[in-house]
């Protein structure tokens, strides 16, 4: 009993006390203070004070932890009696909620990340966007309204300077094929993605071959539930079925669209010989291979065709039928797994095929195959540092055949074998500063050229809710096949990005302003009508200011954002005789987007107002180059979504109208390539296809649980 007594009694009681504060000395209440590997401890109370007793003795490790702060550990010696610890200061943790994120040049849109600007629901509910990703991104600053194209023009860059990536894989032809000056639509539904990053400059070394912008789309994981969807629209219909098992999900979608009935009802500017029709199908699978491993695959194919009266290039005041048929396939598979705490591996393969057959007095068929592979390894030796390196390989074959009644029969085939290696380090220096640096090295066999593209971005918090960020990088792109086809010996085109960004985000309100300067070098330039004499002597610049404000807080159930972009750009490229502003660029772009949810009506009503200032075009009838000016562009679009159910099936009715006010809209002028008998080049205004676009759609989800009762639950 003596020994037993000594075991229990020899250790005298020590009383530990102190005060927990933050770095500024403000009291922290609710911190957990304890001796490690013992039950002894307490919580800090008023003024951050704590006191507790312990029967432990000798050196012990004292830990102080609190949500949002780094855990503090310090050795203390317990010798009985009082042990005053004084003031214990905790440092703020770089937790995800208020962590510094690299924002320069990037607009995050997604459901998973907290620093999102738009999510997939926003894209669907933005008036005028008609659930098209690119159209919704067009309401963000940095994007230019180019109504006749439908594609993304970013910060003085042409459409081809924006590239789309799905799960890290490059997407060839992400937009539908159209005739000149008919707007295209994206081929991918926003519901396929859980995260979208619209980068308007300075993006990561993981992405290349885009001089201006990267649209980085991350596809959804396992589908949440088994559901069947039926959609019925003014322009067609669709069926989809998703089946969910424990660790697998498979979805099949089938859509048919035919604008025929709609075009007969709604007034059109154009005469359609054959209304646009599209038949498309998609299969998608997700397989969870472990707690952290995921295999994703998808395949989609479509065929579309239309015939419309379109101006003849050599004499634009005369029209003839322009016929187009497009066949498209995109398939990809990827695997991602986290190994241990530190390693992440990714591997992906992709295939795409695009074939356009067009005719209008001439016949042109272009076919592009692309096969690609990508492997990435990511290693995080410590939480604050992440290293990434990867390889990419892309093989493309571009074929075309042109024939016209004058006897020209021309065939061409361009094979490209592109490979790239990239490496990148992301480092969180402290809770206020993060930096990302990378290098990308690319090789094009078609050009017989190499390039090295360094990238760097830094972000620093300037307050609890604000931060500044900068980005710099060098970006290369292989000239388009359309320019390479003439056989000239060309090199990569190049742009450098300098981006400075300030962001303030608090309580569902966000304000950001970003300035940029982007010099272009080595652009493809050639004398008028002599593209085979092309070289890389072109150059130019784009600079400007982008402002964005979004408020989802002030008005209950309402959300609105305003974007303003100022752009100053000039370039000497293609057949420009001197440096001037390209036709797609406008100096001022404004978007105002608003929407409100009406709970009593179970409806969302929204509007989008868009403005773009005058665009420049060259009138060959005047001696000066590029002195034509289009009219400023205004558009007001409205939409409404009504949520209801048909029987027990969840249903959405969607209505949308563009250009509600019926304003005159033009995007510029198109001139004949040859002068008429009077020596003048005739012209037509480039306008939308119709004064307005109406859309009515009904979307039914069969199988989505609407109501269950306790008895039904027990039956399952």
């Amino acid at each position: 009993m003596l020994i037993w007594g000594s075991l229990m009694g020899l250790n005298a009681q020590t009383t530990l006390n102190g005060r927990v504060t933050d770095e500024a000395g403000e009291a922290l209440i609710g911190a957990n203070i304890y001796l490690k590997d013992t039950y002894d401890g307490a919580s800090s109370e008023g003024e951050g004070r704590f006191v507790f007793e312990s029967y432990e003795s000798g050196w012990q490790l004292l830990a102080v932890s609190m949500l949002g702060y780094q855990t503090l550990e310090l050795p203390v010696e317990l010798k009985g009696g009082e042990l005053p610890l004084g003031e214990l200061k905790l440092r703020a943790a770089a937790n995800e909620l208020e962590a510094v994120v690299i924002t320069a040049g990037a607009f995050e849109a997604g459901d998973a990340k907290k620093t999102t600007v738009l999510n997939s629901l926003d894209i669907v509910t933005t008036a005028g966007a008609l659930a098209d990703i690119a159209s919704a991104m067009n309401t963000l600053p940095g994007a230019q309204r180019v109504g006749e194209s439908g594609q993304l023009f970013v910060r003085g860059g042409a459409a081809g300077e924006t590239r789309a990536f799905i799960d890290g894989m490059y997407v060839q032809n992400p937009f539908s094929s159209t005739a000149p000056n008919l707007p295209a639509r994206g081929r991918f539904s926003p519901f396929l993605f859980k995260g979208m990053l619209f980068s308007t400059g300075g993006y990561s070394a993981e992405y290349g071959q885009a001089l201006s912008s990267a649209l980085i789309l991350n596809s959804v994981d396992l589908a949440p539930e088994t559901v069947t969807g039926v959609s019925l629209m003014t322009v067609g219909g669709g069926l989809s079925h998703t089946h969910r098992w424990e660790n697998h999900s498979v979805a099949a979608t089938f859509d048919y669209s035919n604008l025929g009935p709609y075009l007969r009802l709604a007034p059109q500017f154009l005469r359609w010989e054959q209304a646009p029709q599209t038949l498309s199908g998609q299969l998608m699978g997700r397989h969870k291979t472990s707690a952290t491993g995921m295999v994703k695959w998808q395949a989609q194919g479509s065929r579309s065709a239309f015939a419309v009266e379109s101006p003849l290039p050599e004499e634009v005041t005369r029209s003839e039928i322009f016929h187009l048929q497009n066949d498209y396939v995109f398939a990809s598979a990827s695997y991602r797994e986290v190994l241990g705490d530190r390693w992440t591996v990714f591997g992906g393969i992709g295939y795409s095929y695009n074939c356009d057959t067009l005719s209008q007095r001439f016949n042109l068929r272009t076919r592009a195959h692309a096969l690609q592979g990508k492997a990435v390894v990511q290693y995080a030796p410590v939480a604050a540092l992440s290293l990434k390196t990867g390889l990419e390989w892309l093989g493309q074959t571009y074929r075309e055949r042109y024939a016209d009644p004058e006897g020209t029969d021309y065939q061409n085939r361009l094979p490209e074998r592109y490979s790239a290696w990239f490496t990148e380090a992301e480092w969180t220096l402290d809770s206020k500063t993060a930096a990302r640096g990378g290098l990308r090295i690319e090789h094009s066999r078609l050009l017989g050229a190499w390039n090295a593209a360094p990238r760097l971005s830094v972000a620093r918090k300037t307050g609890a809710h604000s931060q500044v960020a900068m980005a710099w990088g060098r970006f290369f792109q292989t000239p388009a096949f359309g320019q390479l086809r003439y056989g000239a010996d060309l090199d990569f085109e190049r742009a450098d990005h300098y981006v400075l960004n300030y962001q303030y985000e608090r309580n569902r309100r966000i304000f950001r302003v970003e300035g940029y300067h982007k010099p272009y070098r080595a652009l493809v330039s050639h004398p008028a009508n002599e593209p085979w004499l092309a070289d890389n002597s072109g150059r130019g610049y784009a600079r400007g200011l982008d402002v964005f404000f979004r408020d989802s807080k002030s008005v209950k159930y309402a959300d609105f954002w305003v974007s303003y972009s100022f752009l100053d750009t000039e370039r000497l490229y293609l057949d420009f005789p001197e440096a001037s502003r390209p036709g797609f660029a406008s100096a001022h772009n404004v978007s105002v987007v608003g929407k409100r949810w009406f709970p009593a009506l179970t409806s969302t009503i929204g509007f989008t107002y868009a403005f773009a200032s005058r665009r420049w075009y060259d009138d060959p009838n005047t001696p000066a180059f590029n002195d034509g000016r289009s009219k400023p562009y205004h558009d007001l679009s409205l939409n409404a979504s009504y949520l209801t159910h048909l029987g027990r099936h969840f249903t959405i009715v969607h209505l949308s109208v563009s250009n509600v006010l019926g304003l005159y809209q033009e995007f510029g002028y198109r001139f004949s390539t040859a002068p008429g008998p009077d020596g003048r080049f005739s012209s037509v205004a480039i306008r939308p296809t119709a004064p307005r676009f109406f859309f009515i759609g009904l979307f039914v989800s069969i199988g989505r649980q609407v109501t269950i009762t306790p008895d039904e639950a027990l039956d399952q």
Partner: protein, 214 residues
């Protein structure tokens, strides 16, 4: 020989002492939860459970209760009009719940609390998170009921979720009522496996019931 016996005996005694400290701390802190209203009480209890969990790494209850306290703290933030501060508590709750689930598989109580955490995800941004987490929560609740049909908490949480779901999604007071009534009956007859096993939710269920009836 004597020394060996003493050594063995004191070893057992130390072990017994550890065990009794676990029981003592758990009993005290679990009792604290019965009357806890303010965030500060849950914060203190959360700290204690965190300490207990660190010392009793094979017990699921401390981790479970730590998650529950974090959930209550998230609720407190929600009710005091700071939904943007819920996230950090929900993360913490999920973390502890995941470790509890690793210690005790197919546990009706852990699944019920998991559903509660999913419901919490809806608070910050119901429009975005609703389609993802609402079905997840219902699925987990049905699993919890299947494992233990007499557990009142999954029934209460199902009722609560339906009560706050808009009517056109199949929610509302009318849809919630049978669940909450069933939960009330189960709370009456509930026999927790021990004084340390979960017994929370009765008061909240009564409140939801009064809201569903009005």
């Amino acid at each position: 020989m004597l020394l060996l016996v003493v050594a063995l005996f004191s070893g057992v005694a130390l072990w017994a002492q550890e065990d009794s400290r676990y029981t003592q701390y758990m009993t005290q802190t679990v009792a604290l939860l019965d009357t806890a209203r303010a965030g500060a009480t849950f914060a203190r209890a959360s700290n204690t459970f965190e300490r207990i969990a660190a010392n009793a790494p094979n017990e699921w209850l401390p981790a479970y209760y730590h998650a529950y306290c974090q959930m209550m703290l998230a609720l407190d933030k929600m009710e005091s009009g700071k939904p943007e501060e819920c996230g950090a508590h929900l993360e913490k709750a999920q973390e502890s719940l995941t470790s509890a689930a690793a210690l005790s598989a197919n546990n009706s109580e852990i699944l019920a609390l998991q559903a509660y955490v999913y419901q919490g995800r809806l608070w910050g941004d119901p429009m975005t998170n609703g389609p993802i987490y609402a079905p997840k929560a219902q699925q987990v609740l049905q699993e919890a009921m299947r494992i233990d049909p007499a557990n009142p908490r999954p029934h209460y949480l199902m009722g609560q979720q339906l009560l706050f779901t808009p009517e056109f999604y199949g929610g509302g007071g009318k849809a919630a009522l049978p669940w909450l009534e069933k939960a009330e009956a189960l709370f009456e007859s509930a026999q927790p496996a021990s004084a340390l096993h979960p017994r929370w939710g009765k008061g909240a269920n009564a409140y939801m019931l009064s809201r569903a009836r009005s």
